[in-house]
């Protein structure tokens, strides 16, 4: 796994070594036994579902209808994946485009507004106004959004069923988490930085955009990766706020294909594999960031 995890792991490992160092030879055999056992268990619990989905996405319809794990008698990889991509007038292609666009747009807006807000909320910590705003942000972490009134508001300002509308809803709903991470990170930046910039004649805007924001890069990248996953995998918000087949996002498309392909498991599984690939890529490259974001969010939240 990644370096960040192995750092955590080394600490844990070192500690455990102290516990185990003089147990003798029998502990060696025990360790191997435990290792074999965990490998078998992890394979059964985690690998079999993955393998089942992937191998069945290669089969033809009749064979996938058997719902078993056997090796395909004939491979239909290209055919299945092409069928899924072209089904319903290339709906999945359009959905990928929509989802990517939604993810990029909402994360860009989220980063800018949350970084600015986190900066000022932290620097003004303790003030009456900022305490109240902090409370509102914390409430947003726990309280689920009110759905139909949100639709009503969107409709009122003409943004219901539009990309702009769903983007702003995603920003609003992910803002508390991002703001709290930013606030915690700004707290580690000494105020002397601000003061020296002010002495050099920078204003508040200049200070933030050319000095503070670049320093926030570690937490910015954590938020980008983590929230991209959340927005790309989001099903509920597009379901309510972005309906209509022209607006399909990947998760909605998968959900719709569930009824369209009730008898073609091979195509349904091909769809699942396709929409999981971006997550797999993120996992391989940014594992450390993802884990850091999830644990930081948990500790701060």
């Amino acid at each position: 796994m990644s370096r960040g995890m192995s750092r955590i792991m080394d600490k844990g490992g070192g500690k455990a070594l102290i516990r185990d160092e003089n147990r003798g030879i029998s502990s060696g055999a025990k360790r191997v036994l435990i290792a074999v056992l965990t490998l078998v268990l992890s394979t059964v619990i985690f690998w079999i579902p993955f393998y089942f989905v992937i191998i069945n996405s290669f089969k033809n319809q009749a064979e996938s209808a058997l719902m078993n794990m056997s090796w395909p008698k004939s491979f239909h990889i290209l055919e299945n994946y092409r069928n899924v991509l072209t089904a319903a007038d290339h709906m999945l292609v359009r959905a990928f485009y929509n989802s990517m666009l939604l993810t990029v747009l909402s994360i860009s807006v989220l980063i800018i507004v949350s970084a600015m807000a986190g900066f000022v909320l932290q620097r003004r910590e303790g003030g009456r106004c900022s305490s109240f705003l902090n409370f509102l942000v914390l409430a947003g972490l726990m309280i689920p959004p009110a759905i139909v009134p949100t639709i009503w508001v969107l409709d009122l300002i003409g943004l219901f069923k539009t990309l702009a509308g769903i983007t702003l809803v995603e920003v609003a709903l992910h803002f508390p988490f991002a703001a709290i991470l930013y606030k915690a990170f700004v707290a580690t930046l000494p105020r002397e930085i601000d003061e020296s910039a002010l002495i050099d004649g920078a204003g508040g805007g200049r200070l933030f955009f050319s000095i503070i924001f670049p320093l926030l890069k570690p937490v910015t990248s954590t938020i980008i990766v983590l929230e991209s996953i959340n927005v790309f995998n989001d099903f509920v918000n597009p379901l309510y706020f972005f309906p209509g087949s022209a607006n399909a996002t990947v998760q909605l498309t998968l959900y719709n294909f569930m009824s369209r392909f009730t008898t073609s498991w091979n195509l349904l599984f091909a769809d699942i594999v396709l929409i999981s690939i971006p997550m797999l890529i993120l996992f391989i490259f940014f594992n450390k960031k993802i884990v850091a974001g999830m644990t930081a969010g948990a500790v701060k939240g």
Binding site: G13, S42, A146, I147, V153, F175, Q251, A298
Partner: protein, 288 residues
Amino acid sequence: MTKLKIRTYSYIFLVPAFLIYFVFYLLPTVLSLFFSMTRWTLTHWNFIGFDNYVTFFSETALSIGFRNTLIYAAVTCGLKVILGLLLGAFLTSTVLFKNYLRSVIFFPTLLSTIAVGIAFSILMHPSQGLINTSLAALGINGPDWLGNTKIALLSVALVDVWKGIGVATVIYIAGISAIPGEYYEALKIDGGSSMNAFRYITVPLSRPAMNSVIILAFIGGLRSFDLIWAMTKGGPGFTTDLIASIIYKQYQAGFYGLATAGNVILFVGVSLLAFPLYRYLTKGEVYL
């Protein structure tokens, strides 16, 4: 300095974020209190007082959601707290293939809930599904995981745990790794076993991590919608309907006022359960 502070840390910085947050989250939340007391078609509303709430509590098809949501949240939260702790302790010890195991356990958290739901509803097919055919090979007669009204909710909860255990585990790993090694050393010098280490050092000192897991998993469970919708749609009958899925059903049927009442009940419920729970848990925390 105050004047400088006002100019430098200007509230203008807060405007874009809080404008979006207000219009698309806070305002609808406040409005929901009013709209939950109306018969509502999005363009017109009649004020009907608490009728929607009365309907919600008196109709079995709706009120079953409270029981189910509590069961679902309690089961998923309980399993994540216990299994996460065991996995966290296990994966910070000297076990082999640690990194590989962490990756495998963590990866499902990144998958789409809908995708996981679809895959497992096929694996849980009563006669042909892989789970029951494997059990049959061992001579066990597997149940109808999603069709049996007694266990359908628990089956979905198990899938939720499968998908979400990775987050709980990494939080525990972070917490357990922060415990100073000297404590374990001291225990060893005093002749304690590794079971003692787990019981008297790991468990009490990973309380902050445990509290995070409890809060996150419990709130997540109360708000849960995607997985139940992908796997059972609340069926068979209403036996696996959660508050969130009932809200969606009422919304689809055009009962916007009723759906909004459900929403208010959900967020009042979450606040009433989660805030005191948080207060209670953080009171007993041990600081390192």
